[in-house]
Subunit: 406 residues, 2 copies
């Protein structure tokens, strides 16, 4: 057990937030000058405390503990969404840096490596850096990746003038990957809980459901002669939303976030209607069951409706489980420090999702004020930021001890 | 009983359709040069057959039978929607002209007056001409009326340089108003029926219903903490559409033609949702009952939902009944000619709606091919056009005879 330096942690987070600062937030999307400058700064900070610090062609920044054969890898990402918050990603990287600094100051054998992955937010390719680090990046995807504003990834990589190497995970060295992150939801804050231990990252299914009927004058066309695409989808959507709770697991979430009628005039029977439904759950079994129920319900409506109803899968992400033993160590660590940690799924994706299949992986969450993220208003109480880092340090010490790495 | 000249009717309709011709349709919105030229042409045609023909400051064209103290007024409008059909409005005016011509040719006492009203389609003011003719036009509305393209009605009236008079209905002279129109719906065609006798013009109620909840991340916000405006309105809309058949009269129609979610992203819980519902029926009692049921259903959902649901009335038109005796005469006339006429409501508005409160009024419909209207594809079989005029002539003869006007 050792005590991290909370003040130093907060100061370093603020120092990092100065790169691309926008009011209380940060605009530091991947491969902008601010992003690249922040990565060079981070590499220099790592070197100051004796880590063997490198940067690769994607901009991944990696600090390796010298004189250690095995290490826990700690990190996240330092890129942000446009006009994002100061903690999303940055928190997990600076926790790694603070824990390494503490070990260094105490002249303890340092058995943590620290990493900042590139483009987790997907300006070009979601989780670009962690995919490259784990050897699952498709180079063809790199070639064709274009940002929303038209910039090509290969051009930005050339402009950044980084060393032409690709840093890679070392299965013989890395005994685990640990990522801390803001929750981006309201559960910890509402429960007055300071640490969330992530059990898994949810799988996602997303469908576009559409109906094609016929546009008719809504005053002169008798009800019996209509092919109302709008009414058909309203009934289907209502039915799905009513049935979902009966299919769902405890942490399943679902949403119809988009709904449109065409032509969209008050006095015209809708010729076309479209909605998008998505659902997420942490277990593959539940996702599969939900998928089956959703498809069956859509098909039952399609068979009964006087219009053509069709659906397409427009997104699919498999759920990923976090390492059970590491989860238990982090729960224990939080309890030692006086918290009653919550075990919860991550409803959003993270670099840990890419690491988990190849190395034992854990995530902890700290509370998000009002659940906000991906906005300059994103924030976490300073005490909660410090507490989370202390719990991570304690947990990492346990992991290292258990593995003989300390 | 006298026979109209079908060939002459069709030729006159085609002659009128040349003013503003667009492919198979017509672009002759109120106060365009094409509209004003067509009105002067019509006045000249009326004069040729001995009617006392006048045009007023609004562009209403009125041909009065000389030597008659009482007359049936026949007409409709010659303005169109942008890129409209060749028959909407024009048919009813040319029926009047053909019937007057026939009486004139046969040297029978002419007891029909013919009229073409201005701007029934509402480029500036819906039913502008018939409102002025019936003395129910608000002059303040004339002053402020502006077309969608920014043209002011008063400027267009000045440019048209028309006589500064306002033609008015004469209650001592006009024993009835008769308007023929294309059905603008599919019922006659589907029923293989050539003449529809209109029992009334429907009343319309239109409501904008909206819900305000809270935008949240659809992956990280538990279901129990959401304020989903979209789900609330989907359930309300489905419930309304399911209940409507139990509230409706035989000819009630209803429609949800517009439905929108905001912000409208797949992974964001909808913060706002809006739909527009309208319903129409021919009787005031049914409209009132529907209105009560719709409001009660919305309010029940508003009381139960976790979001704020509100509604505004955004349109209200009262139903108008057609003269029962005149309806019977037209049904009889159609039967004499071998049709089995259908009695039906008009689901759209017409000049007859303005005339009905001040003079006994009747409308007949002829079939619309595929129910189409307000489009250049609008059409009616030539035989049906001629048949409808013959039925109108026979009916008008009966009305005149019954009133001692012939």
């Amino acid at each position: 057990m050792f005590e991290i330096n909370g003040q130093r942690l907060l100061e370093s987070l603020r120092e990092l937030a100065a790169f691309g600062k926008v009011g209380t937030g940060v605009n530091r999307t991947a491969f902008t000058p601010e992003d690249i400058r922040a990565r060079h700064w981070l590499r220099a900070e790592m070197e100051k405390l004796g880590l063997d610090a490198r940067i690769d062609r994607f901009g991944n920044v990696y600090g390796q503990a010298r004189h250690a054969e095995k290490a826990v890898l700690i990190g996240s990402h330092t890129d942000t969404v446009p006009n994002g918050g100061w903690l999303d990603g940055a928190l997990g990287v600076m926790y790694g840096l603070e824990i390494a600094r503490t070990l260094h100051d105490l002249q303890l054998p340092v058995a943590v490596d620290v990493i900042s992955f590139q483009d987790e937010e997907g300006t070009f390719v979601p989780c670009l850096g962690s995919k490259a680090f784990c050897g699952v990046l498709d180079e063809a995807e790199v070639e064709r990746a274009v940002a929303a504003d038209g910039r090509r990834l290969v051009d930005e990589m050339a402009k950044a003038d980084l060393p032409d190497v690709t840093l890679r995970l070392d299965p013989n060295r890395h005994i685990g990957f640990v990522e801390a992150h803001i929750e981006q939801g309201p559960r910890l804050e509402k429960g007055d809980i300071r640490v969330g231990v992530v059990e898994g990252i949810v799988g996602i299914r997303r469908y576009r459901v559409s109906a094609r009927g016929q546009a008719d004058h809504a005053g002169t066309t008798p009800m019996s002669m209509r092919k109302d695409a709008g009414a058909a989808l309203v009934h289907l959507a209502s039915d799905l939303l009513k049935r979902f709770p009966t299919w769902a697991g405890q942490n399943t979430v679902w949403n119809i976030g988009k709904f449109e009628f065409e032509p969209g005039a008050a006095n015209v029977v809708p010729a076309k209607a479209t909605f998008i439904i998505e659902f997420r759950d942490g277990t593959a079994e539940t996702v599969a069951k939900l998928e089956e129920n959703v498809r069956a319900t859509i098909e039952a409506h399609a068979n009964a409706a006087p219009v053509d109803i069709a659906y397409d899968s427009i997104g699919s992400v498999e759920p990923v489980s976090m390492d059970a033993r590491m989860q238990a160590l982090f729960r224990q660590a939080a309890e030692w420090r006086g918290d009653k940690p919550m075990t919860l799924p991550s409803g959003a994706g993270h670099d840990a999702m890419i690491l988990a299949p190849v190395v034992p992986t854990a995530m902890i969450f700290v509370p998000s004020i009002d659940g906000r993220s991906h906005d300059v208003s994103e924030d976490t109480k300073p005490d909660d930021i410090v507490f989370g880092c202390q719990v991570m340090a304690d947990g990492v010490a346990q992991i290292c001890g258990a593995q003989g790495a300390l």
